[in-house]
């Protein structure tokens, strides 16, 4: 007779086997439903933004030092919603050929500014709502606390293309 202790076999009990099998299957089924839903929900965040889209708006030779109001359409994406919106920009080309495209939206409360319409403020953008006025480069002179925003500008084949709207880069406050 040997005195060595009996080696106990590590056996999986029926209860453990069922728990592992059912747990694994349940987890797999739950993941197969949840993962696609989460992926769907966050999809817009995962999309490669790439270079911002530019829209062709006007021929370069139609521009001068005098601001011209140019209407254009741009596709705007907000999460899952894509829609074409009507926009306008005040565009100028200075003596050195530099093009600037300003948003017409007043930085005070969002009315639309116009060029050279107020006798008191000649050659300025003027807001008819509360009298905010701006220099030709968009610099705020009164009422509004920030300069007019400007669109990204790209010149290609003698045409002006406008991109994203952002803070005015020509004006230092």
């Amino acid at each position: 007779m040997s005195n060595e202790p009996k080696k106990q076999k590590k056996e999986v009990t029926r209860r453990q086997f069922l728990a592992y099998t059912l747990g694994g299957t349940g987890g797999f089924l739950a993941a197969s439903m949840i993962v696609p839903m989460v992926r769907f929900a966050v999809d817009p965040l995962l999309q490669d933004k790439g270079e911002s889209e530019f829209v062709k708006v006007i021929a370069l030779d139609k521009l001068s030092d005098e601001p011209v109001s140019v209407p254009f359409k741009m596709l705007q994406k907000d999460g899952w919603v894509e829609e074409e919106v009507d926009l306008t920009a005040w565009i100028t080309k200075n003596a050195s050929g530099q093009v600037q495209a300003l948003s017409p939206i007043c930085k005070h409360l969002g009315c639309t500014v116009n060029w050279n319409t107020e006798k008191k403020y000649p050659n300025q953008y003027f807001c008819p709502c509360h009298g905010a006025h701006y220099e030709k480069n968009g610099k705020n002179l009164a009422i509004a606390t920030a300069p007019l925003d400007e669109y990204e500008v790209k010149i290609q084949d003698n045409y002006v293309y406008l991109g994203k709207l952002g803070p005015n880069t020509k004006v230092t406050t």
Partner: protein, 135 residues
């Protein structure tokens, strides 16, 4: 801005700047077919855009008066009463806007400007003049 875009805190702090109330009037009779009502509302929306967009920072668009009373005198009284209440609530000006041509020649007490099917340039001119005249 539309009435639905406001909350109490914003209104209390900005009310001073928003002195003009826009009262849209669809003026339906109830006899229209659904597609005609849809067109009437679309035309009203286009008319509203000529004022709401350029003057967003000074105007508040109220809910529309959708149906008109057949009796013109009573209808005018109804609109005049609403306009009077708008002024009593703090607005300095009331601009009524409609796409219904029947309203073209109406004179409505308490309404400072009635625009019927206006184009963009007409609205810009008349609203600007209203403010300049009385500011």
């Amino acid at each position: 801005m539309k009435f639905s875009e406001w909350n109490e805190a914003d209104w209390l702090s900005l009310q001073l700047y928003f002195d003009t109330c826009i009262l849209p009037i669809t003026a339906l009779s109830g006899l229209e077919a659904p597609w005609q009502m849809k067109h009437a509302l679309e035309r009203l929306r286009d008319a509203l855009d000529t004022v709401e967009v350029p003057f967003k920072g000074r105007t508040v668009t109220m809910p529309a008066v959708q149906y008109r009373i057949a009796d013109e005198h009573l209808f005018v009284q109804q609109i005049a009463g609403i306009a009077s209440n708008c002024k009593a609530s703090g607005f300095k000006y009331v601009i009524a806007i409609s796409a219904a041509n029947e309203l073209l020649n109406l004179s409505i007490p308490n309404v400072d400007l009635l625009l019927v099917n206006p184009d963009k340039s007409t609205s810009l001119k008349l609203v600007g003049e209203l403010w300049q005249k009385q500011d």
